[in-house]
Amino acid sequence: MSGSWDGTHPQDLLAAYCDGELGVAERMAVAAHLAGCRACRTELADAIEIRALVRSLPEIEPPPGFYERVLVAGPSPRGRMHRRARAAAVNLVAAGALWIGVLGVLGVRDGTSITPDLRSLLGQHTTLATVGSGSTASVPVAAPRSLSGDYVLVRAMTVEGWPQYLYEDAEGRTLSVFARPGRLREEALPATKRAVAVNGVSGWAVTIDEQEVVFLQKPGSVVVLVGDDPRDATADAAMEPILERRDDLGIVDQLVGAGRALLETFGLAA
């Protein structure tokens, strides 16, 4: 195992040393080196502390009822596909809910009126999804590593000083999340916009070039999500929170209610 030395330091023998996985001769050789090498002692001490951190992680409780359901129905190979199909329909809205939380922490407040340029948003989404590369240098907020719907963060960059994050799922669907301080000029959106609501925050969904664009208005800031999910499924999902909470109303009334909530957010309600 002498090949694990780089000529000067024992390199990956240190992991085996701290795990008690070396034979006597190797262990003695590493110990002799450690006695005279502060850098390797530091590396070993760090490795031991890292190992202790990982070993101290608690056991994870399965979600309540998970095994009970499996024991009744049997293990299902379709769990992932079923959940993905459902998740794909709700991911824009679910992602919006997460990002509302992130911006809440950020605490951005700005009176800037935002007139969205749909084509630019789509172009920016496509650019990052295909050829763009990320930079951490000036990305102002931390991003959730993953989003409901099996989306994983794959790229990050700034656009005009504000973040754009790109998520991708296993099927190659992409989702961009933009965040800007300010207030949305909803009258600048196309007449085909649809009212949506996420965790009590209202917004609009627009379909353009078979892409869904969802605008969510947080007090003081706007979150924009752009994705290529099936538009009908996304549209259905976008209505879901309203349907769940307002099942005593007809769909038309629910949409009117969502629009009114958005106007109230802007302080424009009569």
């Binding site: 990956d12 293990p75 794959v154 790229r155 973040p163």
Partner: protein, 182 residues
């Protein structure tokens, strides 16, 4: 790790998937969660493991039941990774799910970085091979020969992966505080 010891003189009993779900469910779920890093994938992975056991695709060998389960789980996890061919992570602006202000107290930030969620997030950001080695070594408690057998690589590769994995975790979690003398 616990054994599924047969009565003296009897052949080792192969556990049913129901046995595993009832008696070892939390252990199995923990491994699945540490490997996948999220509950949805962990539930899928657990179900895949139980399916493999039910179909008899994994033959129980006398010895550590948890080691056996860990091997099945690892194989199922790696099979799934190969199928999905997910692109590697390109940018990690911060540790996920937290926003640290620029005025954060360094000691507080250090303490936060040691919270289980952050350690788990750091593990999840490791390359698959490194993550698997760390989980099998430090969560399951396998020795290097067992990890080599479970992942199909030489022991020397296990050493290297663990060394590099811990180095990456150290970078992700920030400086350690250990004093090592002159």
């Amino acid at each position: 790790m616990s054994d599924l010891s047969p009565p003296e003189g009897a052949a080792p009993r192969s556990p049913s998937w129901e046995d595993i779900a009832r008696d070892h469910g939390r252990f199995l779920y923990t491994i699945a969660y540490r490997l996948t890093g999220n509950h949805e994938d962990a539930q899928d992975l657990v179900q895949e493991v139980l399916l493999r056991v039910r179909r008899g695709l994994a033959t129980y060998q006398p010895g550590s039941l948890e080691g056996w389960l860990s091997r099945i789980t690892t194989n199922a996890f790696l099979d799934d990774v190969r199928k999905r061919k997910r692109r590697p992570f390109e940018v990690v602006p911060e540790l996920p799910d937290r926003v640290f202000g620029i005025d954060d107290d360094p000691d507080e930030a250090l303490q936060r970085s040691r919270l289980p969620d952050h350690v788990q997030a750091a593990i999840r950001s490791l390359p698959i091979d490194f993550r698997t080695a760390v989980v099998l070594c430090d969560v399951v408690g396998m020795d290097y020969a067992e990890i080599a057998s479970a992942t199909g690589v030489p022991v020397g590769t296990v050493r290297s992966r663990l060394h590099r994995a811990r180095g990456q975790l150290r970078q992700l979690l920030g400086p350690m505080r250990t004093e090592v003398g002159p």
